[in-house]
Amino acid sequence: MQNKHIPVFILALVLMIISVLSFSDDIFSPYVDFGYAKSHPEKTVQIIGSTDKKTIRESKTGFQFNITDDKNNILSVSYNGIKPLNFDHADKVVVIGKFMDNKFIAGKVLVKCPSKYTEKKK
């Protein structure tokens, strides 16, 4: 394969991918703790926490709830979207988004279901 257009094409493709990646700020979401999320409001991050069912409030556009971590820190989360299936019965959720105005604005909420693959101890 001695076609001289092909390396040029590949180079252009790589440059394009790099430029798309460097111009977007919402493509990576490292796993962080509550403190890190609060101190880095500009960063998209993901956080795992237990949902506090008593704090779930629904509004016209979405819903809010608090999550707590192992050290009983509390983070209030706001999500403008459809409540995920099984949310009410989830033990833990993963929220992906940014911390803004004293709230964590989630762009996505993942529910950790009580797994069907783990045997329940009776």
Binding site: M1, Q2, N3, K4, H5, I6, F9, I10, L13, V14, M16, I17, V20, L21, S24, D26, I27, F28, S29, P30, Y31, V32, T44, Q46, I48, D52, K54, E58, K60, T61, I82, K83, P84, L85, N86, F87, D88, H89, A90, V94, I96, G107, K108, L110, V111, K112, C113, P114, S115, K116, Y117, T118, E119, K121, K122
Partner: protein, 717 residues
């Protein structure tokens, strides 16, 4: 030991023995191998029949049957319970490999090349090892020695996850695994070609299998997407989840491989690339299994799978396949001489190559995005990518891929200017119409324009029989992409609350709430009203017993303009909210017009297997303690009568962590309660059927090319 396990152990001895026979270079040993292969296939078939038999006869001696089926499970789902867990999936994969390889031996009776079979036997052996760890024939008392004593047979199984109880989920795994299974044949043939330094003959044998694999794997992925849209109720069909991505990447590789082999057949070029991609195809399929079955991504995926006991075995087998194929490729590829490709920028081959390179880049991006959590977690906290990583990169790559398809069309048939205008003018007209009257977005407009142009160009060529397979699948891609962009860009979504007996509007439709129907699978009853026509619908909405989670399903009203997608968010039982309350220890709550104080928990542990829990309550100065007990048979409620009222108090649920209980007091007779209400999210997805039509055409095109290949083979014979 039981029959199923005994057969498994026998296979674990026969399979290495087959390897020894293959390594023996005597001529007669190949006939011996074929006979042994037939024997081992029959044994796998017996295992399969046994597992089906145990499922259909509710044989809960087996942990797998207990965990994936129940007496109440319908026959079709008892069958599909076969592949509802890892154990059965591995067995399914194995039996499908056996079937494919037997067909392969039969159709190519003359071949005496041992190398592909050595590779296949090694793959089968790896699956047997996985089956040894995840044995579907394990007795329940061996699996759960703490709770079940030897010989004790549960009355009923836990049943299947209701999400999987859908017609699409019966077919999705076997079709997907058919793609996985058939991939072993091109893998073995490519290894042989590298070792024998002959990269010309193998593609003739491998090509039909690559197409079969691409068709089945693709169909499986498309079915999974449709199931996700129809059942999961999040409104989309593709969430860039690791489970989805990890099977999409090998499928993209198989599609690139098909194009590579077409070019090799025509020009003698791409020999090394095709060998590499055939090897990668299987390795990536194995990687997909590793990602999804090992539980390594459990923190990064919506799919629920705990860290499993086969993670190490899967990892070791994966590394073995990667290293051994890498060594064989590195040694063999220098000896292969490929022809050069012409330097004409706009030739048909070149535009195919640009498309293939872009598609490869796409596969690499998805692979990196999916694997990033694993790579980064090796050095501290894992980083995963968001959906916009995929979406942002898809936009430019998609444009380049569709452009390369357009150039391919042009390079095959040099259209006259007049003909080109005939295609480009309607495409511009429709794009302008959408941009002006509905919604304007620059990238969307570019997509509308090039997709519509490609749809028109390919449809004008559908009469050319020789090109039909290509034109159908390329048209499918254009229709698919057009549907994806349009349905996601112009959709609307609205959240409405409806009280029982009345109607609420969302956009141009109305939802009337009729009530809630209790049953085996309880559901919310609605009437969907559009243009004065009313359709009644039942939306499943209940707490499923297995995981204790809320199960709900959307209602979809399809018409030519698109789909109305109604998701039941929540149903408010006014009786329940009146008569039920969650109380924390030491607190008071109003339930059924009583002030109820929760004093404390009382726990009785009867023996190792059973215990009871009561909540000590104070109501109107009197003390009540409703309780629940748990033993091997399950949960039992012990409600308490309230003296002189005819009402009962029950303990609905317990939250030990926050020390709270959920208490129910049956309401007084003749009390009037406000009506029930429900919250729905209604969305409209315009022309979403184009997405499904696109996938159908892509599959149809691929399947057609298979028939063409098969026809050629018949002519040659």
């Amino acid at each position: 030991m039981n029959t199923g396990s005994a057969i498994l152990y026998a296979l674990l001895i026969i399979t290495p023995a087959m390897l020894l026979v293959l390594l023996n270079k005597k001529n007669s040993s190949f006939t011996l191998f074929k006979n042994m292969y037939l024997l081992s296939s029959s044994l796998v078939l017996i295992m399969t029949v046994l597992l089906f038999g145990y499922l259909l006869t509710d044989d809960f001696r087996y942990a797998y049957i207990y965990s994936n089926s129940s007496v109440e499970t319908g026959i079709p789902y008892k069958i599909s319970a076969f592949w509802a867990g890892s154990e059965g999936s591995f067995l399914l994969w194995l039996i499908l490999i056996k079937i494919s390889v037997l067909m392969f031996i039969k159709t190519y009776g003359k071949i005496s090349d041992r190398i592909p079979f050595i590779a296949i036997i090694l793959i089968e052996f790896s699956l047997l090892v996985l089956l040894l760890i995840k044995n579907p024939f394990m007795f329940i008392w061996d699996k759960m020695p703490d709770s079940i004593s030897p010989g004790q047979i549960p009355q009923n199984g836990t049943g299947m996850n209701p999400l999987l109880m859908d017609p699409w989920m019966i077919m999705h795994p076997p079709v997907l695994f058919m793609g996985y299974a058939t991939a072993v044949i091109p893998f073995g043939l490519a290894l042989s070609a590298l070792i024998r330094k002959n990269a010309d003959q193998w593609i003739k044998t491998a090509f039909p299998w690559i197409i079969v694999s691409a068709v089945t794997l693709g169909t499986g992925i498309f079915m999974g997407g449709y199931w996700s849209y129809k059942v999961l109720g999040w409104g989309g069909f593709w969430g860039w989840d690791p489970v989805e991505n990890s099977s999409l990447v090998p499928w993209i590789v198989s599609v690139i491989l098909i194009h590579g082999i077409i070019i090799q057949k025509r020009r003698g070029a791409f020999k090394k690339t095709n060998l590499l991609f055939s090897l990668l195809y299987f390795v990536l399929i194995y990687y997909s299994t590793f990602l999804t079955k090992s539980g390594i991504l459990s923190d990064f995926s919506v799919h629920s799978f705990g860290k499993t006991d086969i993670a190490n075995a899967l990892g070791i087998i994966f590394i073995f396949f990667v290293l051994s194929t890498a060594v064989i490729f590195a040694k063999g590829f220098k000896n292969i001489n490929s022809a050069k490709i012409s330097d004409n920028f706009l030739s048909q081959d070149n535009s195919s190559i640009y498309g293939m390179i872009s598609f490869t880049a796409y596969a690499i991006i998805i692979l990196i995005g999916t694997s990033l959590p694993i790579i980064t977690s090796l050095s501290g906290n894992g980083i995963s990518v968001t959906e916009s990583f995929y979406n942002r990169l898809s936009i430019p790559l998609g444009i380049i891929i569709i452009f390369s398809l357009i150039i391919t069309e042009y390079s095959i048939k040099k259209f006259r200017i007049k003909a080109l205008l005939l295609f480009i003018l309607p495409a511009i007209a429709i794009t302008v119409f959408i941009s002006v009257y509905i919604k304007f977005s620059l990238t969307d407009s570019i997509y509308y324009l090039i997709c519509l142009f490609l749809i028109l160009v390919t449809s004008s060529q559908l009469h050319r029989k020789a090109m039909l397979a290509k034109n159908l699948s390329h048209m499918g891609i254009a229709i698919f992409v057009f549907g994806v962009i349009l349905s996601s860009s112009i959709q609307w979504s609205e959240k409405i609350t409806v009280t029982k007996g009345s109607k609420s509007s969302a956009g141009n439709i109305q939802i009337k709430l009729s009530g809630y129907r209790e049953g085996n699978a309880s559901s919310i009853l609605i009437n969907f009203i559009k243009d004065n026509r009313s359709v009644s619908a039942e939306l499943p909405y209940y707490i499923e017993s297995k995981g204790g989670t809320l199960y709900r399903e959307p209602y979809i009203y399809s018409c030519i303009a698109g789909d109305y997608y109604v998701i039941p968010e929540s149903y408010n039982f006014s009786e329940l909210s009146y008569s039920t309350g969650i109380i924390q220890e030491g607190h008071t709550h109003s339930i059924s017009d009583y002030r109820v104080k929760f004093l404390k928990f009382i726990i009785h542990k009867m023996n190792a297997n059973s215990m009871s829990l009561s909540a000590l309550l104070e109501i109107n100065g009197k003390k009540y303690s409703p309780s629940v007990s748990f033993d091997a048979a399950g949960r039992k409620d012990m409600d308490v009568k309230m003296a002189g009222t005819g009402q009962t108090v029950s303990l609905k649920s317990i939250d030990a962590k926050s020390r709270a209980v959920e208490i129910y007091i049956s309401p007084k007779k003749n009390i009037t309660l406000p009506p029930d209400s429900a919250v729905f999210t209604v969305s409209f997805k315009p022309l979403i059927w184009m997405v499904w039509l696109g996938t159908l055409l892509i599959t149809a095109g691929l399947a057609l090319s298979l028939f063409k290949e098969a026809g050629k083979h018949r002519e040659n014979e």
